[in-house]
Amino acid sequence: MEKENNKLLNQRFQRVHVVAGISFSLLMYIAVFFGIFAMLLPYIQVWEKPSRHIEYMDVTKINYAEMIDPVIADPNFPTNNIRITLPGYQHDPVLKISHMFVEPILFDPNTKEKLNHEGDQSQLADFLNGMHYGAPIKDVGYLIFGFVAVGGLFLVVGGVILVIRIKYNNKARKPVSRFSKLHRKILTWVFPPFIIITLTGALMNIGYLGSGPMTYLATKGQTYNIFDLTSPVLFPEIQSVKKENITAKMLPIGDLVQKAKEINPEINFQKITLVNWKDTTARVKIEGYNPYMPFLNGISNKPSITLGAVNGELIMQHKVMDKHWSGLFLDSAYFLHLLFGVDTITRLFLASVMCVATFGLGFGVLLWIEKKAKKFPKNIPFYHWMAKLSLSIMIGVLPATGLIFAMQWILPFDLKDRFVWQEGIFFVSWLATLTWSFYRINSYQAAKEFLKIAGVLFILSPILHYINSDFSPTLLWEKALIQIISIDIGLLIFGILLLIVGFILPYKNAQVQKFWSKDL
């Protein structure tokens, strides 16, 4: 009886995993695939814009007054709580002056002139980031991807239970067992970061949306809005200081940043808030990220130093561990997902982990399809709508993405509605891969074709970048624009890899069977 019950339980665990897995797999793949590009967003957003092909400056050596004074002199510009985003934040070389109620103004800190930037004309990085959580279809997309994230959690927990409960055979040489083994091994290795990232993803897409009743009950009926409740703890407002209305001479902001650096050398400073600027009560709050304490700061918890702007005295210091534990908990949960201000090595490491995870998802789908195909004799070509749909979504997304990368430097920047064209071409070409995969009887052949086209497009995009931006690799190297040159190299390597895979992948059924039965 006990044994019988156990068998049924195992069957159910397996069955729910398969059903949920195949229903969520493709959307999960989209989220993870574009998530990899979202992790590289800071570098892509610099690469994609001609206006950002400028050198990085040391934040303590910039003459801020030359840029800020003319902006503040405008009587329409608010003088309190002006925010300055320092060059280098998220690898953006520009200096941004912004305020809650006005359009941000960008400066090139090298020339100290207002930057003539592309604005909405160039949104490649934002678009790829948006695809990661369903932004192109707004609220519907957020909801769908939120539920997919919950499904992902369901699958990860269920999958781990399956691996613990069931003894799988790892020795068999058939494609089915090979796919099963790869799916299990890969996702067992990557599940710890995967589960944390999925958790915060679900929180951002549906967690806050559904938090009304919980907030209402928790506050005993005071409010439905979660942010009314948590913001005072997580994002406390800057204390307002009464103005004395006496104009005073301000210390140069560069000196104040230098002073803050001396007080706490561990922080990478990112943003400055000017309070009561030009008044005797003026102060600056300089905040940033402490890379020596990862997981504990960067999102809600920003270590900061508040200095008097007249004499440079220390008014307040907020260190990483000064935050209430609820903030530390939130930051540690979000850390791996948002990666604000995190260094390149961590980003690349996590991007490669997620790259491996896409293969894990892919092998899961292959396993399901192979099990369907097993029922047919080998000489009959297997044709299943799910196989074709997955082929188009998982492999077809590569040429479509390669195409928007190439389009970024083909389309002129003054083209009207440039981004609509780019986005449109992306979706149309992705749809084209769907029709092509249904047209080709042999899925492997179609996959090889997609990979080759994608490879060519990814190789072309850095070349087009050199031609149309007038920045040759040597010039980029001389100007130390490492971010941009690394994206070029990255695209090139990715393209070559895709081409190689496109050529070595077998496409005749007998070869395919042999390929997946080889010793790995």
């Binding site: 369901f154 938090s211 009950l217 979660i226 903030g327 939130l330």
Partner: protein
């Protein structure tokens, strides 16, 4: 009589676990949501600090709790137990929350 029949029908043990069925699916999705959401709301009261601080943990873990509860309900041995698994904890949490809310 009707209730009795319903109970009999739902408590029949299925021979195979290879079919999940609509009943379990609905129990898992909606029952799981109720169990998780109410349990997490109760957790706000149980964590010994003000609501503005303690709510962070349940808020983050809410979706994970939903997934776990849905998994737990979907593998129940019978349909009846799947129903119980979704209703009983929700009910207990609801009463506990009402007490915490009122006093």
């Amino acid at each position: 009589m009707y209730i009795n029949n319903l109970y009999k029908n739902l408590s029949i043990k299925e021979k195979s676990g290879r079919k999940i069925g609509l009943f379990r699916t609905l129990c898992a999705i909606f029952g799981g949501l109720f169990v998780a959401y109410l349990g997490m709301t109760l957790a706000v009261f149980l964590i010994p600090t003000e609501a503005s601080k303690s709510i962070t943990i349940p808020l983050i873990l809410n979706t994970l709790a939903w997934a776990v509860a849905a998994l737990w309900i979907s593998v129940a041995p019978t349909k009846w137990s799947a129903l119980l698994r979704s209703v009983v904890p929700s009910f207990i949490f609801l009463i506990a929350i009402s007490i915490a809310f009122l006093f």
